[in-house]
């Protein structure tokens, strides 16, 4: 089994499992964790659309130098939710810091 296929399977089935586990009792979790969760969900939804669109490119159109199709079709389901989660957490912190600074009046 190639690394790409393994990443695809983990992204396809493993990532939703992780998100489902992570999403349990979400309201009781800290706001940064909630932001990371929603970021990861958005990343997974986007990756699903990308994987489907790029996956339907017929094989005769594939070229050996092409990296985008491989990434979007196989790796995106794993990578984009992770990036989305990190992005959600980082954005939340930035908003939090901005709102604290505005309250303090700095």
């Amino acid at each position: 089994m190639s690394a790409g296929l393994l990443a695809f399977l983990v992204g396809l089935f493993g990532m939703p499992l992780v998100l489902l586990g992570y999403g349990r009792r979400l309201r009781r979790r800290p706001p940064a964790v909630r932001a990371a969760f929603w970021g990861a969900v958005a990343g997974h939804c986007l990756a699903g659309v990308l994987a489907m669109v790029f996956g339907m490119i017929p094989p005769e159109a594939w070229t050996p130098e092409e990296r985008i199709r491989g990434f979007a079709g196989l790796w995106s389901l794993l990578v984009l939710p992770v990036l989305g989660g990190l992005g959600g957490a980082v954005l939340h912190r930035r908003f939090l810091r901005r709102s604290i600074l505005s309250r303090v009046g700095a």
């Binding site: 296929l5 396809l12 939703p16 489902l20 699903g48 489907m52 996956g55 339907m56 094989p59 594939w62």
Partner: protein
């Protein structure tokens, strides 16, 4: 706590079992639904595209009238050779006219006696297909079969021969999700109907 309080009535037990079943059904429905979403959407989209493969031009449609009786058809070897000669260079993989017929290049030969044609599909990336007249060996059409890759994507075979298990998993998940969906819809109604038919026992 007294023994009478500890003891649960049969009706309460049935109610408790029903609630547990409902809860289990809900979680099966939720988890399997979320787990199989992307796979099921992909299977559905490829299925719809495959249903309309002729209309979408994924499969060449070559109208042809039979020119001679089936008994007068050329041998499969000669038909295969004629198809390979007419194939695009990229699909031949080094084979040229005059060489012996390389069956390794041919994926399948689909004989249509009623139409008087044979469809020769090659094993290249584009799944190139030549439609050849059975009696004369004339190549009527050469084109790619776009539906072959879609079929492989639909079954999961595009990821490797053993990956048809992906569509199996998605299919089982869909069946379980449908059954639990029905259960989640009907179980509360059944409980309510039982209570209404026996209001005394319901208390």
């Amino acid at each position: 706590m007294s023994r009478t309080l500890m003891h649960r009535s049969p009706r309460a037990e049935v109610g408790g079992r029903r609630r547990r079943l409902l809860r289990a059904g809900f979680y099966i429905h939720l988890w399997l639904g979320v787990l199989s979403t992307i796979a099921l959407i992909a299977i559905s989209i490829t299925g719809i595209l495959l249903n309309h493969k002729r209309g979408l031009g994924l499969m060449p449609d070559v109208p042809h009238q039979r020119t001679a009786p089936f008994a007068a058809a050329l041998s499969l070897e000669r038909l295969g050779y004629a198809a390979l000669v007419a194939a695009p260079v990229a699909a031949k993989q080094g084979w040229k006219a005059g060489d012996a017929l390389d069956v390794g290049l041919i994926d399948r030969m689909d004989v249509r006696p009623r139409d008087g044609v044979v469809k020769v599909r090659l094993r290249d990336k584009a799944s190139t297909e030549m439609t050849v007249d059975l009696a004369t060996g004339t190549v009527l059409h050469t084109g790619r079969r776009g539906d072959v890759f879609l079929e492989k994507l639909h079954s999961g075979e595009a990821f490797g021969g053993r990956m048809v298990i992906l569509s199996d998993i998605a299919g089982i998940a869909l069946v379980l999700t449908l059954i639990t969906g029905y259960w989640l819809w009907l179980a509360p109604k059944l409980g309510r109907a039982a209570q209404e038919s026996d209001p005394e026992a319901a208390g």
